[in-house]
Symmetry: C2
Subunit: 376 residues, 2 copies
């Protein structure tokens, strides 16, 4: 059994341990030498080049992804050559274009913020007028970790984006959404096999800082049984409705009045699921491999009442996480440390830590203290 | 941080996931192409050849082992070149020679079965006469998984070994031990850093079949607080007394009258500790890496009340574990499956499964059922 992963980042890297455990051969097409998933990189090349990707795919049983950026023509050509690709081109098209994502979610009846495709400042001004004078504008393509997202209060605030809208827009438009009055952000992860089996992890609470995931608490504290069931059913209906295979992450707003709205989708293992490596019987990375190979899914039972994951962001240039282990490991022997094998840069995700236990405040304190060793 | 592992078997393979997680670069000197630890193999060569080993060791921070068979002259030469080697030549000499092991354990005051070095049938006959006419004879070197071990009731039962005794004996002798009347077999694993820190896992019960580890239950059912404390103290005193660095496995007999006797030592991750991958906060493989790098040791807390590991032995030639996953994973979604990436052969250890939970009988039944999918 051989899985080919396109992209050599930390998500591909974190698929390696479960692949080794299960005896699944994993091969990575990396963007460059020395990437995070180096240990499994069997090819280096441009994922936008059909010949490179086809060559890489020629001797694996299934192709999957570290990211959602492989162009549709390349995906289509893989399909035409009979390569098994999970997730497939259709669901990936939804992940690649935020306007198309809103369109498809609306078609599926999923609750989403009010939204519109706006082609110019006049259309944006109309949307702002109808939504209390504030909104969120997003470039349909190419955004991540807060990039390509802007809160606006006047129609000229994204003039620079309108000026180049054809470059990153589908249909020459930007996406505008209501500024949701949310109580907190949640995430629901689910895995789906091609044959249809689904498995959901517990609903989690996420804290974002500057548009980047900073901390995840599992399960979401204080979530009612109804909210938990609603989130799982919503993610499962989206996975099935869009035909997603592998892991689907549904980022959610819990509104001030207690409703769930879908914020974003990711069709791959996701930062909000890193806690599952140490906190669950089956991690999102193992489950993704099982799902794309159409193997039976594993139990998503947590090991303990609470897990808290804290991202390690940057730190001083040049100091790697392992160079700072002596103090961190001694102080927090029960915390699990994950380094992505990347040179440190301020603000860059270079690793994460997870604490697991039965007392939420203690678990959170341990995770934060452990992550703190790698700051500044 | 770069660890070099000599030997490409499943123990080296199972060091890969924690190395990837911690961001420790792992390099393996494998005996051949296509070994179990292939994904991390950066060199292929003979571990008995000093030049090969020195070349491999030249750009790693520490050298450790998948097995204990690297010859003393090679280990000595590594030390002379300033290579950090864990465990070091002195403790490894104890693991390499069962007569020397008995000698050193006796010096340390560790409880061991009655034993003697016997040079000929006359000496063996004397030992048999003094021990009720039955004993266990072992070749001091080269035995594993029941090989090189024979229960004898007459002095001519190992005539073939005496005929070639110089080839595998230290001092031209075989080891003879009393046939211990034991209630069960136990194992105590402990890790030790060069700077002295120790960490012990829970005492486990092991079941051997035909001299091969078949099943491990953690913790050892019904073990008294005193027995548990005695086992941990014993393993810690042996680790410290012998200067072991990394993981030390102490295989024990619990005698019919409730005493502990040391059966064997292994100075590396050990089959009786495989359950820690899925059953503990820190696995024996992660702990071994931390220990040999002299990093602070992790918590050995179990995830649940019980873990049961069952080895997957052989099965029909050619059918790999992954080829049989469809049924096994569907039937046991909560069991963790480990394949060593080896072609199957009857009786060969090709993988293991671990179940974890709060009800021992249920956990054991799940582990056995899961392993059963790969038999016959």
């Amino acid at each position: 059994m051989r899985v080919g992963v396109i992209g050599g980042g930390q998500l591909a890297r974190m698929m390696v341990p479960p692949a080794v455990a299960l005896g699944i051969e994993i091969r990575v097409l990396a963007e460059a030498e020395g990437m995070s998933a180096e240990i499994a990189a069997t090819a280096v090349g441009d994922y936008r080049d059909a010949a490179t990707v086809l060559s890489f795919a020629s001797d694996v049983d299934v192709v999957t992804f570290d990211h959602e950026h492989v162009p549709q023509p390349v995906l289509t050509e893989l399909g035409e050559r009979g390569v098994s690709v999970h997730p497939g081109p259709e669901p990936l098209a939804v992940a690649q274009d935020k306007l198309w994502m809103r369109e498809r979610l609306t078609q599926l009846g999923a609750p989403v913020p009010d939204w519109a495709a706006v082609h110019d400042e006049a259309e944006l001004a109309d949307f702002l007028a109808a939504h209390g004078g504030a909104a969120v504008v997003k470039t349909p393509r190419g955004g991540y970790d807060g990039k390509g997202v802007r809160v606006v209060r006047s129609a000229d605030a994204v003039a620079d984006w309108f000026a180049v809208v054809d470059e990153h827009a589908s249909g020459g438009a930007l996406l505008v959404e209501e500024l949701v009055d949310f109580r907190r952000e949640l995430a629901q992860l689910v895995a789906r096999r091609p044959s249809g089996e689904l498995a959901a992890w517990p609903l989690v609470e996420t804290v974002q800082r500057d548009g980047v995931c900073a901390e995840v608490t599992a399960p979401a504290p204080g979530a009612s049984v109804e909210l938990v069931a609603e989130a799982a059913a919503l993610a499962e209906s989206i996975a099935t409705g869009l035909g997603v295979t592998g892991v689907l992450a549904v980022e959610l707003f819990e509104t001030a009045d207690g409703r769930l709205l879908v914020n974003e989708l990711a069709m791959r293992p996701h930062n909000t699921g890193h806690w599952t490596i140490d906190g669950c019987v089956t991690s999102q990375f193992e489950q993704h491999l099982r799902a794309v190979l159409d193997l039976p899914l594993g139990a998503t039972t947590p090991h303990a009442a609470w897990s808290v994951m804290v991202n390690v962001l940057g730190g001083p240039v040049g100091a790697s996480m392992p160079e700072r282990y002596a103090g961190a490991l001694a102080a927090e022997p029960g915390v699990k440390f994950h380094s992505y094998g990347k040179p440190s840069r301020p603000g860059r995700k270079v690793g994460h830590v997870t604490a697991v236990g039965d007392d939420l405040e203690a678990v959170r304190a341990r995770a934060r203290a452990a992550a703190g060793f790698f700051e500044g």
